[in-house]
Amino acid sequence: MEHDPAEQRLVLLAQRGDQQAFGQLVTRYEQVAFRAAYLVVRERATAEDVAQEGFVRAYQGLGQFRPNEPFRPWLLRIVTNLALNEVRARKRRGGLLERLGWATATSEPPADRAALAGEGQQELWNAVNELGAEDRVVLYLRYFLELPEREIAFAIGKAPGTVKSRLSRASGRLRGVIEARYPSLRSEALGGGVRDE
């Protein structure tokens, strides 16, 4: 994996307690951290909280981080775990409120329609929401955040050799959901000349 000497230096300084160096790491990766959180929690304010908490916990855990490893996927692992925890907590709360007759539980956070460009995207988003958390995260990391497979491996804490098969399984499950529930999406994609298997 390519290694960024500047990043390595910042990490080393931060590990020695240089908070300004860590601040530079925050500035460098705040966008990808926020976006990763937003993709999972789908609320701007919550995503900001999650990203901020992710950086704080990354700082607290720097002693366990090896500087010769890439910082970004390590950070994203923390952030996506926090975001998933938030979604799970929200789901539990929603279920309880529903049992009490106070609210209708939603299995997933509502998609932020402002972020979606049209009906087709909304349907795709609905389809993605029907996947399990691991599948969703691996798809977000790959297609939305465009991480290379080796960084995805770091981010999800799995061996690099398993990422390709995980991506394949996740996209396969998405394909199944689309074909069963949103067939118009498939037609739309095929209309664009995409290979069908």
């Binding site: 500035t27 002693g63 297609y143 939305f144 999406l185 290979r195």
Partner: protein
């Protein structure tokens, strides 16, 4: 990204990703650095303590694994954990961690973070300005050592620190207690591995931690003693206040006082000493 021809779902994802409109990225550095606080260094690397650390870690892991096995197989233990769940005063939840599930390796309980590592020192006037209410000072033989404020994503908290104890105060966290009864499942299966800094699958020692009920000025209160535990604030919407989770290694008395103020007294002392302090508040 991929030289192989894309399936239709991959094509859809790529297209959606390109058109996805993220909100503007907030500038996080200032807030993160403020929370990290001055003079606090990251925890040292495990490898920095060669000799003692591996053995200590091994012993800790053995204890945790043994404890996890007991919790998994011993039904009474699981039910004892369940007895803890959902106990809270309005606006403040005592969060006892879920029972680990088979195949999930528990992580170590996070240590308590020192107050000055994330709270901002201030004065009484400053606390009132930032908190939006007058902080209450208990009557005790102890000398006030510091006043702090913490902003948990817009929810201000005031802490008055007397060394042997610290009194946390927060307003308007109005939550129906019933909402949280049994709101935390006995086990929370998670397919996701825990990462550095996470402690979702941490454990507390049921053999030493005790939870008791009491009253402060006639109002319900809970007393947690004997070992580390989590506490956190619950906001008006019924959701935990982001970042307010805290490991407390001292004993804790929580109650809801008059005027919608929630109190959390963290103390090196007995319940009687805690009640004396709590009952001295106006």
């Amino acid at each position: 990204m991929n030289e192989e021809p894309m399936n239709f779902e991959e094509q859809l994802l790529t297209r959606a990703a390109g058109a996805f409109a993220y909100p503007a990225t907030p500038q996080l550095a200032t807030a993160v650095l403020a929370r990290i606080g001055a003079g606090v260094a990251p925890k040292p690397a495990v490898g920095a303590h060669r000799g003692l650390a591996p053995r200590a870690l091994g012993a800790a892991a053995l204890v945790l694994v043994t404890f996890a096995a007991v919790m998994i197989t011993w039904r009474d233990a699981r039910e004892a954990v369940a007895d803890f769940l959902g106990l809270a005063v309005e606006g403040e939840q005592i969060h006892i961690l879920p029972t680990p599930v088979p195949g999930v390796r528990p992580t170590a309980f996070p240590p308590e973070q020192p107050l000055d590592s994330y709270a901002t020192p201030t004065t009484l006037l400053g606390a009132r300005d930032r908190g939006g209410f007058d902080p209450q000072l208990p009557v005790s033989g102890e000398r006030l050592q510091g006043i702090y404020t913490i902003d948990y994503a817009g929810t201000p908290v005031i802490v008055v620190d007397y060394g042997r104890f610290a009194l946390w105060q927060v307003r308007d966290l109005v939550v129906d207690k019933g909402v949280f009864e049994k709101s935390v499942p006995q086990s929370t299966p998670t397919p996701y591995p825990s990462g550095p800094g996470l402690f979702e699958k941490g454990l507390f020692d049921k053999g030493t931690v005790r939870l008791g009920e009491s009253t402060v000025q006639g109002r319900p209160a809970y007393w947690i003693s004997g070992g580390p535990h989590f506490v956190r604030f619950i906001g008006r919407s019924g959701t935990p206040v982001a970042g307010s989770e805290r490991t407390v290694s001292r004993n804790t008395l929580v109650w809801r006082g008059p005027g919608g103020t929630n109190y959390r007294l963290e103390i090196d002392g007995t319940l009687e000493q805690a009640l004396e302090i709590a009952n001295s508040l106006p």
